[in-house]
Amino acid sequence: MANRPAPGHFVTVLRFRVDYNQDSCLTLEGRNFYPVSASPPKFDFHFRFMLSAHGLTCVRGDRRLFAGLDLAVGAGQWLHVRGENGAGKTSLLRLLAGLSQPAAGDIRWSGQSIRDSDSTYRQNLLFFGHHGALKEDLTAMENLAFAAAMDGVAIEEVGALQALYRFGLKGREELPVRVLSAGQKRRVMLARLAIRKAKLWILDEPFTALDVKAVELLATLISEHVAGGGMAVLTSHQTMPIPGGRVVQL
């Protein structure tokens, strides 16, 4: 860089965050000061990782669950989707995961419709539905290894074991999942959160069937994820003390 200031000076680096709302305005988030002697700062392309939905309408059968729903989640934020039973929370999450198509409106990942940027979006996505996606005849370890292969990530045995230990499944990693209790099955499933590096977590009722300790552990995991620049969208009937959250009421 030819006109780089001499060491000892400070340069101002602006951090931008682009909010993809309807009129696509650019929002200035703040500025940081870096000493020149330090390595040249890179732009924080936070806006590269951003989920937004515009005018979403969901129809199930003859019933319109919601219409004209707008939402946006940026790095370091999470959304708490709330609503009564049957309000369309799961439907919304399935729409966001790209499992079903909205009747109207569209969903964008970093400004691009998720239908176009399909594989980039999926690489950044981790979705947990009501079902655990666990094979009863396979062991916890085998289930995790298969899930990792599906996600296209290499998994090391040590990493998987650590994740299982963290969720209190020590000594049960080689048991077939069918002999585990409902809560333990949930824990096996949640161990994936600790293994997979995904930017966006979409979790449908993640606290179901978990005991107090596991709920705490999961809340910690989500806050760590969000604090590290991740995003999460989740449904739950409980209130959660995780910073950076917003509520979407259906």
């Binding site: 499992l99 594989s119 999926r122 539905g129 996606a133 005849d137 396979l138 298969f146 599906m150």
Partner: protein, 221 residues
Amino acid sequence: MNAMLAIIRRDLLMVMRRKSEVLTALFFFVIVSSLFPLGIGPEPALLRKIAPGVLWVGALLATMLGLQRMFAADHSDGTLEQMAISPTPLVLLVTGKIVAHWLVSGLPLVLMAPVLGIQFDLDAGALGVLMVALLLGTPLLSLIGAIGAALTLGVRGGGVLLSLLVLPLYVPALIFGAGAVESHIAGLGAGGHLSLLAAILVMAAFFAPWAATAALRIALE
């Protein structure tokens, strides 16, 4: 590609844990094919005549047995959702499922067929043609069956519907597969039939995974 291999490995592993599935199809094939010589009586000329048709119909029905379960378990436990949102294209994963289905319920039939053929007094040449025809034909059955299994996923009473849907589509495989053995026995050479069977297989290998994937996406909605 890794994800596809992982699916094949997982499906085979699950079959190894629960062997009844693969054994059911195989025993069905063995028993159905053995009942004919017992019922018709020891008349070599007649047995030779009906052998290709009986063995092929047996193989056809045996592959039907496991067909309904091809995607059903993955659908009910949420694995199919995870497959659909995997970064690997769903069509590759579906291809993996089809390959696994063939390895479990098609390949054993190919290997068993010569033993059963002896009951029908087929000579070594005819047994060879039978094996080649089944080797080309059973993957075709798995491919076509996958479309039917995906279309009837989550439908109540899907088993009957699946048979109605898939069995007519099996007819070309049956005609050319059994025809290959018949024309070999008649001394006409099996080349023509086998080429046609191979051509249908290539076409199905290209189109069937896409069709099954489209049907699965509808089932997931």
